[in-house]
Each structure stands twice: as structure tokens, then as C-alpha cells.
């Protein structure tokens, strides 16, 4: 049977094909990716859009967790100082409530308590980079200011609102407690009972001071109870961080499954393509120059 005597077309096509295969395998090995452009695997490329979005989103959640942990720890440590201050105030209140203490001493104690009051005030106005932590969502102005005409001795400028921040898909955490709830709750009023105690020591009776001290104890219990929120949230942030880090690993392994190159396979493909390429070249070198003329004189 007569065949196409000009084999160069087939040979060149084969050389191109094997060269293209080598290039593909080399690209896979150098980028580590099987899918380097959408047409390599359209579905995987489309899924990678969602995968890289999730991955970047998870990074952001981790970042949120870091930021919030800082904010919440600052708030918690401020409240811890408030708790120690209240403890001191209670023991001063107990001292002041005993009948044996002199008027001058009572005035002195009242003065010490006023110092504690302003210390707590300053702690209640704790701010982190311009944000006041205990003003609800009115966080750009100091939440508490001194006001002797107020029965609690202070005025609350904040509101009762809280913020929530997303720290994982479908998981939001509350990030603050309004100062009104922490320091001026209906049954546990830190500023109210402190002011009450100061006034009792300055002008009132021993039993007034005792009542006020007891109210301060309630405020102590109340604040300590509320403070647990911060500790719990920090714990939640920590465990979410662990979860998010695992999520990152699983997203990255998903990405590898989607578009990663199987290096062993790529290397084998490359070797195979190289062999085919050399074989084609060798065949071309043997076939192309040969003709009947070689065997004639």
C-alpha cells in the first residue's frame, strides 16, 4: 500500500506533542500545581475561588481572634483591678462601721474611699486605642464622669448596647459588656454603694455605713459574676483559634487535592515524555535521510 512518502509532517507533529507534554510536566513540577489556568481543570479552578476565599476568610477570623483577645484581656485586667479596689473599700467600710472608730478616722476613711472611687472611675474609663471598653457602643467618649449631685456620684454617658464579631463561619461572639450593667446594675451597684458608703461615713450613722458596706459586698459579688463573661469569651476565642488553625490545614489540603500536582506522577510523565521525544528524534534522524539513493552508486 502506498503511504504518505513525506513523513516530516507526522514527525514534526509528534515532536511538538512530546515537547508540549514535557512542558506541561515541567510546569506542574515547578509550580507544584496541576491546574495552572482555568482550562486545565475548569471545575477545580472554580472551586479554588471558594477555597482561597475560605482560606483568606479564616486568616481574617484568626486576626479577629487576636484583636479581640487583646481587647478582652485588657477589659478583664481592668475589672480585676476594680475587684481588688472594691475589696479594699469593703475592708475600709468594715473598719468605718465599728462604733469605736473616731469621727476624724471616719473622715479619713471616707477620704481614702473617695480615692478608691476615682481609681475605679478611671478603670471604668479604660480605653484601647481610642475605644472606651465599658461604654456600650458609645465607645468614643469616656463612659463615666464624676458628678456629686448624682446619687451614685457618677454619670453614665454610654449606652446598653453590645457588639458582636464573627470569629468563624456561623459563630459570633459578644465582645463587650456595657458599663451600666457592670458598675450600675439594679442589685449590684458599684458606684452607688461606694458613694452611699462615703456619705454614710461622712454624715451618717454606723448602721448606715454597715448597710452601705453590705451593698458594696453585693456589688462585689455582682461584678465578679459578670466578669466571668470576659474569661469565658477569652477561652472561647482560644478554642476557636485552635479550630481555625485546623480549618486552615484542611483548606490547604483541600487546595492540594483540587489543584496540586502529584509530583511523582509529574516526574514519571516527564520521563515518559522525554523518552518519547528522544525516540521520535532518533526515528526522525534514521528515517528522514534514508532513501533508495543511499544504496545506488
Amino acid at each position: 500500500m502506498r503511504v504518505n512518502p513525506d513523513m516530516s509532517g507526522d514527525l514534526v507533529a509528534e515532536i511538538w506533542r512530546t515537547q508540549e507534554q514535557q512542558q506541561t510536566s515541567l510546569l506542574e513540577m515547578s509550580t507544584g500545581k496541576r491546574v495552572n489556568k482555568p482550562s486545565d481543570d475548569p471545575l477545580a479552578a472554580a472551586q479554588m475561588v471558594a477555597n482561597s476565599d475560605h482560606s483568606a476568610r479564616t486568616d481574617q477570623y484568626l486576626h479577629n481572634v487576636d484583636t479581640l483577645t487583646g481587647q478582652l484581656q485588657t477589659a478583664d485586667s481592668a475589672l480585676s483591678s476594680v475587684v481588688s479596689a472594691i475589696t479594699r473599700a469593703i475592708s475600709l467600710g468594715v473598719q468605718g462601721s465599728t462604733g469605736t472608730v473616731s469621727d476624724a478616722n471616719r473622715q479619713q476613711i471616707a477620704q481614702d474611699l473617695a480615692g478608691i472611687q476615682s481609681q475605679i472611675l478611671s478603670l471604668a474609663n479604660t480605653e484601647v486605642s481610642g475605644t472606651f471598653l465599658f461604654g456600650g457602643t458609645e465607645s468614643t467618649t469616656p463612659p463615666f464622669t464624676l458628678d456629686s449631685t448624682s446619687p451614685t456620684g457618677v454619670v453614665y454617658n454610654g449606652n446598653d448596647q453590645t457588639n458582636t464579631v464573627q470569629i468563624a463561619d456561623g459563630l459570633n461572639v459578644k465582645t463587650n459588656m456595657p458599663g451600666s450593667q457592670l458598675f450600675q446594675g439594679p442589685t449590684a451597684n458599684v458606684f452607688g454603694s461606694l458613694q452611699q458608703l462615703i456619705i454614710a461615713l461622712q454624715t451618717g450613722s454606723t448602721s448606715d455605713a454597715e448597710t452601705a458596706t453590705n451593698a458594696l459586698r453585693d456589688a462585689f459579688d455582682g461584678l465578679t459574676g459578670q466578669r466571668i463573661f470576659y474569661g469565658n469569651t477569652v477561652n472561647q476565642l482560644n478554642s476557636t483559634q485552635t479550630f481555625l488553625q485546623q480549618e486552615k490545614v484542611s483548606l490547604s489540603s483541600q487546595a492540594t487535592t483540587l489543584i496540586g500536582a502529584d509530583l511523582t506522577k509529574s516526574a514519571t510523565d516527564l520521563t515518559r515524555a522525554q523518552t518519547a521525544y528522544s525516540a521520535t528524534l532518533a526515528a526522525a534522524a534514521k528515517i528522514l535521510p534514508t532513501s533508495l539513493l543511499d544504496y545506488l552508486e
Binding site: R2, N4, P38, S39, A46, S52, N159
Partner: protein, 456 residues
């Protein structure tokens, strides 16, 4: 009784015939690498017999003509495969350019959208922080830039393709002119009973070149070939060619017109079909997807933004420049505000509230009116681009293989084999030598006769 002269005459005829055959072989060898050359074979036949006395002697050999060895059906398949291959190759080239705009999932519109929502997420941890607010504006502007880049990238490819339409039409017109001339010559030579081999080779080559540009149907008639393209519009009839024209349509793109008839949508083969398909179907579809995404995304985000309050407690305005018509939304994608304090993060008017940020982030996870989430609309677009590219690649590979196959088949029929030609050359040479030897022999017979002193 036959005379020696008869032998001499037969020998001379044989010499001429073998030399003619050798010429054909030589021409074949000379054209061994000429593209489109069709090998020729000499047609040797017995000469008329000679009656001498009561015996009829064979009259020797004549070379009546030579013939090109061609298979017209294969040639027609060659045209079809060429049309198909150039169509898909052209599309593949453009789609490779297009998909480079959407190759990296961490870059471009997808990456920019992710970064934008992440900046909002960051803002939610500290809604009054100016740098976090500024970051939201920066990422929003980057998102706008990525939309602009995708649109302008597609636009550049589209206008490059458009510019190539008149060029291709011009090439088509030049080819059809040449084909018409050659077509006339072929018909003329055939009319005179001559073998039009060389002219036909040239004509077939030109039709193959024409097939690379546009779909062509070839029909044989008594006046030569008739070439028609889309919708049966004639390109070449006998020795006459018909030019295609271009005229700009309402989009400013060049339409292909044949004798007053717009045939743009009916061009189905060759480079022109690939160009037109990408320019008029693929890119407009992608642009429409981008426009729809931009339009609906901006609108949804603005609606939610207006539900919130800015840092000063005022109701939120438009965050993005409100889009009007869908077409052009991606190109006009823009951020309406430059003052970071105008970002409506608050849900109740208090400065530190982040309540509306969560709602704004929620736009990411809600279906737009088109029925998909913003990022899913984008990944569908990537899927579309990838699928088109991958289909064009396999089409082009398959068409390339078919083309190679047809070309091999044509080569098997019409290609010059040096081995074969060398064999023929030796055969003709030997025959020539033998005929010459006969002449020498007759010559010596004459000598014998003459030395006998007798006439022949």
C-alpha cells in the same frame, strides 16, 4: 517483410517516450518538497500497429500525456478540516488570552472581593478605628480596579479581534481573485484536453488557504469550481470572484457583508468564524456576567449600607456609585465615598456600634437577584472561561489530528516518493539504454548489408 527502418523508427519513438517519462520523474523529484505539489505519472501506451505484407507488427510506444494523481474527495475533506482546525485554533488563542485574566484565584475580582469583606470583618473588631475604616475604602477601590482590569482586558482582546476582521476579509478577497483566475485557466486547459496539473495544484493550495480563513463549499461544474461561503453566497464562479465587504454595526464592530447581505452570524468556519464567535458571543457573555455581578453587588451593598449609620450618627448613603443600566456596570464600578467616617458601620447611630458591619458582610453570603452569591457568580464565570478554553483545546487538538490524517491520506495518493521516482528513473534509463542498443544493432545490420553491396 519489415524493413530495418521500421525498427529504427520504433527505437527512436521508444527513446523519446522514455525520455518523456524521465522528464516527468525529474519534475516529480524537483518538486519533492513543493507544498501542494501533486505527483504526475507518464501515460505510456502502445503505438498504432504497422501492417507490413501479411503481418501486423506492434508499432512501439508513445507517451501520450502525463497525469496528476489526485483524489478530489480527499481534497474536499482537506478544506473542511482546515476550516474546522483554524476556527478552533483561533478561538483557543483568544481563550488563552482571556483565561489569563482569571487564572489566579487569589488575585483579580475574586481575591479583591475576599479582601474587601475581610477588611469589613477587621472593622467589626474596632468600628471606630480610622485605619480600619480607611482599609475598607482601600480594598473597595481595589475591587473596583479589578473589575476595571477584567473589563478592559476583555475589551482589548475584543477590539483586537474586531480589527482583524477587515484584514481577514481583505485576504479572502485577494485569494478569491487569484482562485478565479486559476479556475478559468484550469477550465480552459481541460477544454483543450491538456493536463492542468500545475495550475490545479496552485488553485487547490489557494483554496486550502482560503479554507483557513472562512467556510467554503466547493462544487464542480463544467466551467470549473464554484466556491460559496455562508448562506450559499458565491465567492468564485468560473473565472469570476465576488468580494466580501465589512460594515460597522451599532456596536462599532465590523460585520461581514456579501452583496448587500449581512452574513456575519452565518460564518461557521476558518479563522473568521473563530474571531467572530469570540468577539460576538464569548466576550459579550463574559462582560454581561461581570456587569450583572457588579450591578447587583453594588445595589445590594448600597441598600444595606443605607440601613446603617456613619461615625457621626447620620444615616448611611451610597457606598458604591449607584449603577444604572446593567451594561457598563463593571466598567463604571466605583466607590462613592472618600471619607472613611462615612462608612455606615453602626446599626443604631452610636459611634462604636458595629451592628451594620455584620449585615454588610452578610451581603457576601446572600444570593443576589441573579440567584447566586457574589463570589459564586464569579467562580461560575471562571468555570465558564475554563470550560470554553478546555473545549477549544480538545477541539483544536482533534481538528489538528484530523487535518494531519487527511494530509497523510492526500500524501499517500499524491505525494512524491523519492524511492519510487528513483526506481522509475532506473527503469526509464534501462529502457532508454535498451532502445539505444537496438539502434546500434540496426546500425551494424545496415553495415552488414552495405558491405554485402546490396540494398536493404
Amino acid at each position: 517483410m519489415p524493413g530495418l527502418n521500421t525498427s529504427l523508427n520504433i527505437s527512436v519513438q521508444a527513446l523519446m517516450a522514455e525520455q518523456g517519462a524521465l522528464n516527468v520523474t525529474t519534475n516529480n523529484i524537483a518538486n519533492v518538497s513543493t507544498p501542494g505539489y501533486t505527483r504526475e505519472v507518464p501515460i505510456l501506451s502502445e503505438a498504432a500497429t504497422i501492417q507490413e505484407g501479411s503481418v501486423r507488427f506492434g508499432g512501439g510506444v508513445t507517451m501520450q500525456q502525463f497525469q496528476s494523481v489526485r483524489d478530489q474527495l480527499l481534497q474536499l475533506r482537506m478544506y473542511e478540516e482546515t476550516q474546522q482546525q483554524n476556527n478552533s485554533q483561533t478561538q483557543l488563542n483568544s481563550l488563552t488570552q482571556i483565561e489569563s485574566l482569571f487564572s489566579d484565584p487569589t488575585q483579580g475580582i475574586g481575591g479583591a472581593m475576599t479582601a474587601f469583606f475581610n477588611s469589613l470583618s477587621q472593622l467589626s473588631t474596632n468600628p471606630t478605628d480610622n485605619s480600619a475604616r480607611q482599609q475598607v475604602l482601600t480594598t473597595a477601590n481595589n475591587l473596583a480596579i479589578s473589575f476595571h482590569q477584567a473589563v478592559s482586558g476583555l475589551g482589548t482582546i475584543q477590539s483586537d479581534l474586531d480589527q482583524s476582521v477587515p484584514q481577514v476579509v481583505n485576504q479572502i478577497n485577494q485569494l478569491t481573485k487569484q482562485i478565479a483566475t486559476l479556475n478559468g485557466q484550469v477550465a480552459q486547459m481541460q477544454g483543450l484536453g491538456q493536463e492542468p496539473g500545475t495550475v490545479q495544484d496552485q488553485r487547490d493550495q489557494l483554496i486550502t488557504q482560503l479554507s483557513a480563513l472562512v467556510n467554503v463549499s466547493v462544487t464542480q461544474s463544467e466551467h470549473g469550481l464554484t466556491l460559496t461561503t455562508a448562506n450559499g453566497v458565491p465567492l468564485v464562479v468560473a473565472n469570476q470572484s465576488f468580494d466580501l465587504q465589512t460594515s460597522n454595526n451599532t456596536n462599532g464592530f465590523a460585520d461581514v457583508v456579501a452583496q448587500g447581505q449581512d452574513i456575519t452570524t452565518q460564518i461557521t468556519g476558518g479563522k473568521l468564524a473563530g474571531v467572530i464567535n469570540i468577539r460576538d458571543q464569548v466576550i459579550p457573555d463574559l462582560l454581561n456576567r461581570l456587569d450583572t455581578l457588579a450591578n447587583q453587588f453594588e445595589t445590594s451593598f448600597n441598600t444595606q449600607h443605607q440601613a446603617g449609620f456613619d461615625l457621626s450618627g447620620n444615616a448611611g448613603g451610597n457606598f458604591f456609585t449607584p449603577p444604572t443600566a446593567v451594561a457598563g456596570s463593571a466598567a463604571d464600578f466605583g466607590v462613592a465615598i472618600t471619607d472613611p467616617s462615612l462608612i455606615a458601620a453602626s446599626s443604631d447611630g452610636s459611634a462604636g456600634s458595629n451592628g451594620n458591619v455584620a449585615q454588610l458582610i452578610g451581603v457576601r453570603d446572600q444570593d443576589l437577584p441573579a440567584g447566586a452569591k457574589p463570589l459564586d457568580m464569579f467562580s461560575n464565570l471562571v468555570l465558564q472561561v475554563g470550560t470554553l478554553g478546555s473545549n477549544a483545546k480538545s477541539d483544536s487538538d482533534a481538528a489538528g489530528m484530523s487535518l494531519q490524517q487527511v494530509s497523510d491520506q492526500i500524501g499517500a495518493v499524491s505525494g512524491v516518493s523519492l524511492d519510487e521516482e528513483t526506481t522509475n528513473m532506473i527503469r526509464y534509463q534501462r529502457a532508454y539504454q535498451a532502445a539505444a542498443r537496438v539502434i546500434t544493432t540496426v546500425n551494424s545490420m545496415y553495415d552488414t548489408l552495405l558491405s554485402m553491396g546490396l540494398g536493404g
